[in-house]
């Protein structure tokens, strides 16, 4: 039987405010067994870019990453957000290590080809070094992954945190029984976005397709659930979409 691994992905809003970050670190440190954290930081990046007079351009919820924006996300994701999480986890007795994809070559990507949109220095994940993550985890070290990868040719690339979580979960599913938890500001996937009590408790691909057709599920939730379904099809045991404060619990939407 494979060992359990819990992979938590948290969005920017949670890691950027001291109270919610502190709660997350407490909850995360209480998780038993192997674990790994993937974080975002988009709001901090947008705020920092704005302070530096750099305009943030988003297309389909993705950041257009020119050279100046790449510097901002490298600083904010790889430095500010990542190192605060790592120092916070160390204070709670979790031996964390903050990594971008460039560190120990852990996630290699390719610069997204220019089609209708030129996303700039944005990477599509090519491979995750599961052997290396496995070594760290078995030494009791907890990887904290920033949403940055590299192309092996000296370039850092901005990479969506949901994608990093999904790809990392898939790569580790060969060695671990992986539960992937996407945390965000809602209690789960909602039937009615204005009603926090309308959580859909279970969701499979057929139901997902129907909800999308009916317009119940829309916007940024679509790629999130697509990532979840792909992860399951690639061997991940369980995917949960829930509140950060519910990690480790059984609330939220279970994708199956």
């Amino acid at each position: 039987m494979k060992e359990q691994l819990t992979l938590i992905k948290v969005g920017g809003k949670i890691v950027e405010e001291e109270a919610t970050l502190n709660q997350l670190l407490t909850d995360f440190s209480a998780i038993k067994g192997h674990k790994l954290l993937v974080h975002g930081g988009g709001r901090s990046a947008t705020r920092m870019a704005s302070r530096l007079g750099i305009e943030s351009n988003m297309v389909n919820g993705r950041r257009i990453t020119d050279a100046e924006t790449l510097k901002v996300v490298t600083m904010v994701y790889g430095g500010l957000v990542n190192k605060n999480i790592v120092a916070g986890l160390q204070a709670k007795g979790v031996n964390a290590v903050g990594l971008t994809g460039a560190d120990m070559d852990v996630i290699r990507s390719v610069k997204r080809p220019v089609k209708e949109v030129d996303y700039g220095f944005v990477g599509d994940v090519e491979r995750v070094n599961a052997g290396l993550l496995n070594d760290l985890l078995h030494k009791g070290i907890v990887p904290v992954l920033a949403p940055l990868t590299h192309d092996g040719q000296g370039h850092i690339l901005n990479t969506n945190a949901d994608t990093i979580a999904g790809e990392t979960a898939k790569a580790l599913a060969q060695r671990f029984d992986v539960t992937l938890v996407y945390c965000f500001e809602k209690r789960g996937v909602l039937r009615d976005e204005n009603d926090d009590n309308s959580v859909i408790p279970q969701l499979n691909r057929k139901e997902f397709d129907r909800y999308v057709q009916e317009g119940v599920i829309q916007g940024g939730m679509i790629p999130k659930i697509e990532n979840a379904l792909n992860a399951l099809e690639a061997g991940v045991s369980k995917v949960i979409i829930t509140l950060a404060s519910a990690i480790g619990g059984e609330q939220g939407t279970i994708i199956s």
Copy 2:
């Protein structure tokens, strides 16, 4: 006989300009055997602080690090500078990992006590986790240390890069035959700061004390050589102060 380890410390000026950084990465990747890089980044931090409207206050060449300045150095040292070096080394076939002291608890420090000067969030190194660095090095992984440490209570602390290099060299000297190279913009310790050909080829503590008394050695060079002499007294085999372009060679000032 102990294995060889070369520990290179490079200042901000070298890692902040593309041409000098690229040369450094080429020279560093050519070093045989175990190696480790410690970098600064003060000029970039000052520039970034200025763009953000944060004043940089230096006392005795050390940065007063208030809460806002701490965010800047965490971003710039831990994110921008560190990750660019790591990605650049990966492109040259060096399996680098960028670390602050918080990552894997590699360097623990204490916030500097307030005496005549309140340096703010500045750390004095307490201990370096040599066992962990040893493990990484023996796996062929090359640590790239940013000048940031942590106090184990959730705080990142700004820490002088020369000190990190010296303390890391001392900690590793029990396991390795360590050569510590301080790279800066001069060819070595100069008898006459306006004459690049006046390099003092060898320097011991007695000569150092005399040069300081005579005013030949002054300013920021004094703590640098103090660090070097302390490192030698703690078991480091050799300390060299030289140009970045001379790493691996026999130029510069050899402290003995």
